[in-house]
Symmetry: C2
Subunit: 259 residues, 2 copies
């Protein structure tokens, strides 16, 4: 019987947490969590029932895969301190280049999960698209097999494609969520709960997925309903940043559909 894939997580944030759970559930062994913040390492290790450390020179040497899941600007530094030059090392970033890991190991690559993770919200990892890349062709099979253990949606993508995916994801997730938050603020002003918008939020997502968002654009900016646009701008007089955003996005919608 082939032994299980053994993983060390370098990082203890949202991505490390969800990846750690996915590995554990799929039968891989998470051996250890490293974080420069010992309490974070300890907390995640407790959830995954594994060892932890805050010292790079105490990283366990007998794992098959080392996964860096830290903020982009900390990746290169952590890779430089990675003590195992012949072990498979991947990062999980959409934007950092694969070759940022070159200083860490001769065997390196990327495993980028295209999803939004919060520690408190569970996610069905089998549906999370994973975008892979490796520096050496001979590591391809190994990373592919590990990825398929935790997700049904495994793709190969270059640095260039992965960056583009991440940029698109900022619009489709982070900016979308901000629009929800602004809507919540606007309702709160009149004591109205965000719940009232749930059917709209759901339907908007459903339609965009069913028919593509360009086909489904509605609203005063799309219709160029000047009366409504002006009323809305007036209603936002006390929130100049929201008014600017309203006018800017409305103008952008109008231009997109009239060119």
């Amino acid at each position: 019987m082939e032994r299980d894939t053994r993983v060390v997580l370098l990082g203890a944030g949202n991505v490390a947490t969800h990846l750690g759970r996915a590995f554990t559930r799929s039968g891989c062994s998470v051996l250890q969590v490293y974080s420069r913040t010992i309490s974070s390492a300890k907390n995640l290790a407790a959830r995954l029932d594994c060892a932890f450390t805050d010292r790079t020179d105490s990283i366990k040497t007998d794992a098959d895969l080392y996964v860096i899941a830290v903020p982009d600007d900390a990746i290169a530094d952590l890779a430089a301190r990675f003590p195992l030059k012949d072990k498979m090392l991947v990062h999980t970033s959409g934007t950092a280049g694969m070759h940022d890991l070159q200083v860490g190991s001769t065997r390196y690559g990327v495993l980028y999960p295209l999803q939004t993770f919060s520690k408190t919200v569970d996610v069905d990892f089998s549906q999370v698209p994973l975008f892979l890349e490796v520096a050496r062709t001979k590591d391809r099979g190994f990373l592919d097999a590990v990825a398929r253990r935790i997700s049904k949606k495994v793709f190969w993508a270059s640095d260039d494609q992965r960056r583009q995916l991440h940029l698109a994801a900022v619009f489709a997730c982070n900016f979308v969520n901000h629009m929800y938050a602004v809507a919540e603020d606007i309702l709160e002003e009149k004591g109205l709960p965000f719940d009232l918008l749930h059917p709209l939020v759901q339907e908007t997502a459903r339609k965009a997925m069913a028919a593509g968002p360009s086909e489904m654009q509605t609203g005063p900016a799309r219709r160029y309903d000047l009366g409504v646009l002006e009323t809305h701008a007036r209603m936002l007089a006390a929130k100049p940043e929201y008014r600017k955003m309203y006018n800017f996005i409305s103008k952008n919608i109008r231009e997109r559909y009239t060119c």
Copy 2:
């Protein structure tokens, strides 16, 4: 046996189409569709199996409820030409005031469906929140009963609250959809399909509904990951409008969560 409520639709766009179907399905009779564009009136009438006209002086006189579903800037004009001063007349606008209908009838009000409608996409109308208002208290029971025939989510809201709901909906639906469309554009540049973002789109909506959007904000702007923010701005160099939008929304996110 009480006879069915009889409805005339004034307008033949997205809202009229979905309301018409909801009325028909709930057992109300749609008697006629009026539109100043005869072909639109005819098309919708064919779907609802009813009469149609493009002349206000040919509007049938024996309905119980007349529903104006036209763009906001056409409501007052249509109300002024409404020939039945004692019939219940409502509009379906989020932003137009109820009293815009005063010129049309002594009995008037609002029935505002808070949802995004496209002619080609069916919707479960029973889940669409309806916000009602009437000028005369004695019409309250009638409009409430009609609304409850077509939706399980009936609320009463003032002009002021309804306007606020509509403004919030522009952010949570129209602007959200535009963010999806921009994401689609960005992916298209590299030949990547929007489908890759479906799990992200779904999860973003799900989390915002489960825990509230402010709690769920993630991404480079929230973390203030300057390296990623700068990389993304550079990637959008060829699309100055998208770059401006990226920077503006990122700044707004950052400010919201650091104050």
